[in-house]
Amino acid sequence: MPALPDILFYVFAYLTLLCGVLVVANPFSRNPVTSAMFLVLTILSMAGLFVLLHAFFLAAVQILVYAGAVMVLFLFVIMLLDLKEEERRRIKMFGLVGGLVSAGAIALILLKTLRAAGSGADAPGPSLEGNPVPLGKLLFTQYLLPFEVVSVLLLVAMVGVILLSKKDSK
């Protein structure tokens, strides 16, 4: 009888991969909105995997930032652009074959590497809890400079987006 976390791992892993497949190649609908919705599901089940890895704070951030902010942005843009004609386009055979071959090759390489590496790390011993306090301490001591640089990056992105999306005033 496997333990509950193991069962949950398989549930979330299959859910993540299934929804990932449906983002990329949904046999029923080529609509970008469907892709976006399945991406939300992928992100949610990945937050479940984060919880299983005891990264509780990251799971919350994943849901808030990805499933909340980023996906809302995606949906806004999809609604803004009228993408009706997407459904009529056909997937090029050449692109499909090339994509399948290259993605399959990379999958093969990665899985072979994983097999060759063997099982180095065993079950986690004294558990490392990903709760906010140690994470915040690390973030504000050792990683203070990257933290500040990221805030500047966000400011730059914000100014850039405003500049890009302004109407041309020539």
Binding site: F50, L81, P124, G125, L128
Partner: protein, 101 residues
């Protein structure tokens, strides 16, 4: 069977390849962008798994930064797509083959 590091890494590798497949096969800019997000998420999953099984929080801090940078990247990229759509009335890479607007 006990779930170890390899299980998470296999899921992460498969997810990365799915994202790659999406970027190569789909021709819609928005769906390609979503596939990119899928690849970033795969990297995040691998980092969190490493962080958990090596008893080291640095991986989680890196994931934190990746999420922030991905949010900035998504906002800039979507603004570019909207600006492009305004000029060309299309978000399809096959219509966007010339560099000159």
């Amino acid at each position: 069977m006990h779930v170890g590091l390899e299980h998470y890494l296999v899921v992460s590798a498969l997810l990365f390849c799915l994202g790659l497949l999406g970027v190569i096969t789909r021709r819609n800019l928005l769906v390609m962008y979503m596939s990119l997000e899928l690849m970033l998420n795969a990297a995040n999953l691998a980092l969190v798994a490493f962080s958990r099984f090596n008893h080291n929080l640095n991986g989680q801090v890196l994931v934190f930064f990746i999420i922030t940078v991905a949010a900035a990247e998504v906002s800039v990229g979507l603004a570019l797509i909207v600006a492009l759509y305004r000029r060309r009335q299309s978000a399809h890479v096959e219509d966007l083959t010339t560099m000159k607007l």
